[in-house]
Symmetry: C2
Subunit: 308 residues, 2 copies
Amino acid sequence: MTDLPTETPPLCVVGTVAFDDVETPSGARSGILGGSATYFSVAASHFARVGLVGVVGTDFPDTYRRVLEGHDVDLAGLEVDPNGSTFHWSGKYEGDMDQAETLATDLNVLETFAPTLPEAFRASPYVFLANTDPKIQLSVLDQLTSPRLVVMDTMNLWIDIAREPLLEVLKRVDGLMINDAEAKSLSGEDNLIAAGRSLLDFGPSFVIVKKGEHGSFLFSRNRLYALPSYPLDQVVDPTGAGDSFAGGVMGHLAGENAQRVDDVCRAMLYGTSVASYTVSDFSLDVLADLERASIEERTSELRRFVSP
Amino acid sequence: MTDLPTETPPLCVVGTVAFDDVETPSGARSGILGGSATYFSVAASHFARVGLVGVVGTDFPDTYRRVLEGHDVDLAGLEVDPNGSTFHWSGKYEGDMDQAETLATDLNVLETFAPTLPEAFRASPYVFLANTDPKIQLSVLDQLTSPRLVVMDTMNLWIDIAREPLLEVLKRVDGLMINDAEAKSLSGEDNLIAAGRSLLDFGPSFVIVKKGEHGSFLFSRNRLYALPSYPLDQVVDPTGAGDSFAGGVMGHLAGENAQRVDDVCRAMLYGTSVASYTVSDFSLDVLADLERASIEERTSELRRFVSP
């Protein structure tokens, strides 16, 4: 994007950076690099330069910082809180791994997090508000100077305890990404198609419902679009799939400077490809070493997979 | 198909004709026309003439017979057993209706059913073996004289209690249609992609895994294909969806006299369209009154729905 100040990343994400303990049928890992902003940034970095806004504690190691920097992720917005530890999540997947059982959530530095966007980030045209307190999402919206496409995620916790501010955010974003259970809960509709459609009434011009292994739906006033997941013989760890998908979608849009609904549908192919790499190993083990050419190849394969 | 004797239906189905009692969140009906061969035949009749092989009791009313005859379904293979009542199934769906809870299954005339195909049916080139005892399926295979494409369905009961004869049938058919839980159970694989792929080792050249509201997958040695369900705001009664899908697929193939895997993928669009009508009301209430033009229109809409 030639009209941006060089220091402004075309894509900005506000979300979590975390230490994860994860147990799946394939094994267990602890203290691995996780968090919504982490997965999002690395996934998106294959398509566009990303500015990350988040917070860690003084315990966040340089090796993890270098993983992000190695993908040219701008960490000017990654606050280091001297008074606490990095956010920590612990979870377990069983059987077909369609849902994580959360074993522990230690918010730590997240409890007092009030993001201040670096001056250069405020002009980012593409912005993703990962799942956080809607009040934090509102404060980020207030700091943006020239958004072209703002997309948000959320979760059941906020639907249950912070519905009002959440509805405020929804009025001010272009897109919502949400999983199927959350879409039903937020809309009050049992049928997923009815749920997705009715969420458009809350304000966004498109809604993407993420269905895990069953793929994703896009709802807009003029178009419905369905995309299956990339077929994988083995899923090792589903953690970060949704955020990687979002990173692939938003990264591709930012890289192309595209924001129409048809562009979003095409970008979902890239999000789906990238997410399929994420779940094929723990943490960022595969995602971080990925070449753009592999993503393109898998995306072509995905197109064939869904073409009658 | 000009090379067939005029009395031979291009498509033959062997399965059940039933009285259903169904309860869903939309209401309850009892004694309605159901059964795998019924749904299959009416769905397929929009594309090709169908010969139905099954059994009913003397309690089977003429009104129901006329529903089938009204779709030009050849009932020469519908035996009337003078010693019993028509097969009766009673089931209930709740919540997102992804699974039926069976309340009662009265086999009645099915208990002693040993199908004899009318002479004219034996030459049918397209054959669907709906879910029945694998021994019955084997006896039907023995009666076929010139099959071009034979596809079977099955269920968990036979996977559990009649695995050996089931594996015999699998060696002798071209295609298997099966739902996701059954695919996992039959293959012993937790991952659905691994399950679908490994079922090819049992013999069929393609496997279609039906995933209800999540659509269907086709697995073959050279091709994987995924198709979402047609998006419906409201599902009234899912009964018969899988058999209608099979009817749409096989009917379209028989109508076009096509049997390559690529043809099967395209036929899945028609099966999906037709099944979406079935679930939008009880029994055959919508399916039976359908015009071919409506199916074509919905199929085009489905193509747009899945095109990036």
